[in-house]
Amino acid sequence: MPDHSFDDFVHAALPALGRYAYALTGERAAGEDLIQDTLVKVAGAWRRVHRDGSPLAYARTTMLNTYLSAWRIRRRRPASVPLEVDWPGPDEYGPVDVRDQLRRALDALPRAQRAVLVLGFLDDLSDEEIAGMLDRRPATVRSLRHRGLAALRRQLDGDQVEGGPYARR
C-alpha cells in the first residue's frame, strides 16, 4: 500500500512553511523555490523524520538551513545588479514611503541577520530558541539582531533626515 503520509504532510504544513518562506525571501517566486527545495530535503529523510514525530519542526529548520546555505552559494556567484538602484525620488509633498524603504533595507540585510529578525519578530521566539534553530549561540543571535535592527534604523532614520538615498547622489 503506497505511503501518502508525506503528501498529507505537505498539504498540512504548506501554510506554515509558506509563511516563513515569504517572510524570509520577501518574494513570491523565491519563496516558492525555497519551499520546494526544503520539501525535497524533507522527503529524502521522510522515514526518519516521520518516525521521530516532529516533521514540521524539522522542515522549518531545514528551510532556515537551506536559506542560509543558499546565501553561501550565491556569494560565490556573480550577482546581477541593476545599473541604477531604483530608489524613489524625493517626495516634495509628503513623507517618504517608509514601508518601501524598510522593505528594501530588510532585503539588503545579510541572510543570517534577516533570519534572526524573522524568527524573533514574526513568531516572537526567544534568543535560545532561535539559537537552537540556527545552530548559533544565543549571544550570536543577540548580536545579529542588534546589528540588523541598527542597520534598518540607520537606513530609515538616515533617509528621513537627509531626504532619502536619492538625495545623496
Binding site: 503528501d7 505537505v10 498539504h11 504548506l14 501554510p15 512553511l17 509558506g18 509563511r19 516563513y20 515569504y22 517572510a23 520577501g26 513570491r28 519563496g31 516558492e32 519551499i35 520546494q36 520539501l39 525535497v40 530535503k41 522527503a43 529524502g44 531545514t62 538551513n65 546555505s69 517608509v98 514601508r99 524598510l102 522593505r103 530588510l106 529578525l117 524573522v118 519578530f121 514574526l122 539559537a131 537552537g132 545552530d135 549561540r137 544565543p138 549571544a139 543577540r142 548580536s143 542588534h146 546589528r147 535592527l149 541598527a150 542597520a151 534598518l152 534604523r153 540607520r154 530609515l156 532614520d157 538616515g158 528621513q160
Partner: protein
C-alpha cells in the same frame, strides 16, 4: 525617529500573509525533482563504478614487486577529517593548542579534537566518543573550552552535556554542566562564563580544572544582563573582565583578584550607551582598547583601568554611515592593529605611540589564545587558515 520594531513586525506580517502555492502542485514538483535527482545520481554512480573497474584493471596489470599492503588499515582517511566551519581553534600557549574537526564520510558526522604540542607543526586527531551530528547540520553544536595544555571541555550548546578530557583528547569523561556549590575565586586553570538571570543580576559560572562547575560567590552587582558577551574574558595578566549591558547602558567590570572583588570600569565616548556594539579589546589586561565605528570612528586606549582614555583614531578615514566597520586585534605586546576594509589599509598604534599610523595593506588576524589566526583564502573568511606565534611567520593549519 521611526519605530523600527513595529514597522518590522508589520512588514513581516504582511509578507507572511501571501497565499501559499497549491499543495498539489508542490507535491508534484517535489516528487518530480526527486526523481530527476535520483536518475542523475544513479548515472553518476554508474560512471564512478566504470572508472573504479578500469582503475582496478590497470593496477592489476602493473608490476607490484615491493608494494606490500599495509599491516594495518589507517584509522581514518587523512583527507576525511577537516576543520569545522567556522574553525574553532584555541592555543593554551604558543605550543599547545586544540582544534575541532569533523569527518562526514558517513552520516552522521563524527566530531574530532585535534591536538598540537609543537606549535601547530603537527596535529594528532582523536575522535570524541559518542559526539556525532547530522551531516546537514554542517557543524557540531559544542563549544571548545581550553583550560590548559592538556585539558579541555566540550560544552553542548543546549547545556545538556559536557565532555571532558585531561590528556589532550585521548580519553573522555562526561561531567555535569549545572553548577554545584560556590567557589570564592576563579581558580588557576579555570574558566568562567556569565549567566544572565531574568530580572536579576548576573551570575558567574566557574568551570573548574576538574571539569565541574560552581557559582562564583561574589559576582559583580550588575543590572540584569540583556545583551552582549557571555564569557568572562581572561587578560594575559590574570585579570578577569565582564562586559555586558541592559537597555539603558553598557558596562564593564574588572577583577584583579580572581573574582573575589569587582569594580566598574568607565567606558569612553559612545561605548557606554545602550547596545554599544562591539566590546572592548581586553586580552592584554593592562592596555584596554575600544574601537567605535558609529556614529563616528574612534579608537580609545586606557592604561589605568579606564580612569583615562586617549583617542588614537583621529587619522582614520571617516565613515559617516558606519557601514564599513573596522576590524581590530591587540597583539601580545599591547600593540593595536586596525583594518580599514574600504581602503584595505592597516593602521597600527604601538604601546609607545599616541595615535594610529598606516603601516600596510594586508588583512589582519585574530587572537586565539597563545597564537594568532588568519584566513588566507581569496576572501578574508575563506580557508585555508594559518596560525602564527608573532604575526610575522605563518603556518598553514593542516590536520
Amino acid at each position: 525617529m521611526h519605530d523600527v520594531e513595529r514597522l518590522l513586525r508589520e512588514e513581516l506580517s504582511r509578507r507572511s500573509q501571501l497565499p501559499p502555492p497549491s499543495a498539489a502542485a508542490v507535491v508534484t514538483a517535489v516528487h518530480g525533482l526527486r526523481r530527476r535527482r535520483r536518475i542523475t545520481a544513479v548515472a553518476a554512480l554508474g560512471a564512478v563504478a566504470v572508472l573504479v573497474t578500469l582503475a582496478g584493471t590497470i593496477t592489476a596489470l602493473r608490476p607490484s614487486a615491493g608494494s606490500l599492503p599495509p599491516a594495518f588499515p589507517p584509522p581514518a582517511h587523512a583527507g576525511s577529517v577537516s576543520l569545522t566551519e567556522p574553525p574553532e581553534i584555541w592555543f593554551a600557549d604558543a605550543d599547545h593548542g586544540f582544534a575541532l574537526a569533523q569527518s562526514c564520510l558517513a552520516d552522521p558526522c563524527q566530531l574530532y579534537v585535534a591536538q598540537t604540542t609543537d606549535g601547530g607543526a603537527s596535529w594528532q586527531r582523536h575522535a570524541v566518543p559518542g559526539e556525532t551530528f547530522p551531516a546537514e547540520q554542517r557543524s557540531p553544536r559544542v563549544t571548545l573550552r581550553v583550560l590548559s595544555a592538556t585539558t579541555l571541555a566540550l560544552d553542548g550548546f543546549d547545556g545538556d552535556r559536557r565532555r571532558f578530557t585531561t590528556d589532550g583528547g585521548r580519553t573522555w569523561t562526561e561531567k555535569p554542566m549545572d553548577p554545584q556549590g560556590t567557589v570564592a575565586e576563579i581558580p588557576d586553570g579555570g574558566l568562567a562564563q556569565v549567566r544572565s538571570n531574568t530580572g536579576r543580576p548576573i551570575d558567574i559560572v566557574v568551570l573548574r580544572p576538574d571539569g565541574t562547575s560552581a557559582l562564583l560567590a561574589t559576582p559583580p552587582q550588575t543590572r540584569p544582563l540583556t545583551s552582549m558577551w557571555t564569557n568572562v574574558v581572561r587578560g594575559d595578566d590574570g585579570s578577569a573582565w565582564v562586559y555586558g549591558g541592559d537597555d539603558t547602558r553598557t558596562w564593564l567590570w574588572l577583577s584583579r583578584d580572581r573574582g573575589r572583588t569587582w569594580r566598574e570600569v568607565p567606558l569612553p565616548g559612545d561605548a557606554a550607551g545602550p547596545h554599544a556594539g562591539r566590546g572592548p579589546l581586553l586580552e592584554h589586561g593592562r592596555m584596554l582598547y575600544v574601537v567605535e565605528t558609529f556614529p563616528k570612528r574612534r579608537v580609545w586606549r586606557s592604561t589605568d583601568d579606564g580612569a583615562h582614555w586617549a583617542d588614537l583614531g583621529k587619522d582614520l578615514p571617516p565613515d559617516p554611515g558606519g557601514d564599513a566597520g573596522l576590524a581590530s586585534v591587540v597583539c601580545f605586546d599591547g600593540t593595536l592593529l586596525v583594518y580599514e576594509p574600504t581602503s584595505g589599509a592597516v593602521y597600527r598604534a604601538m604601546p609607545s605611540e599616541d595615535k594610529l599610523g598606516r603601516v600596510g595593506d594586508a588583512p589582519i588576524w585574530q587572537r586565539i589564545g597563545g597564537r594568532y589566526l588568519r584566513a588566507a583564502g581569496p576572501k578574508a573568511s575563506d580557508p585555508p587558515v594559518q596560525h602564527s606565534p608573532d604575526g610575522l611567520t605563518w603556518t598553514e593549519l593542516r590536520l
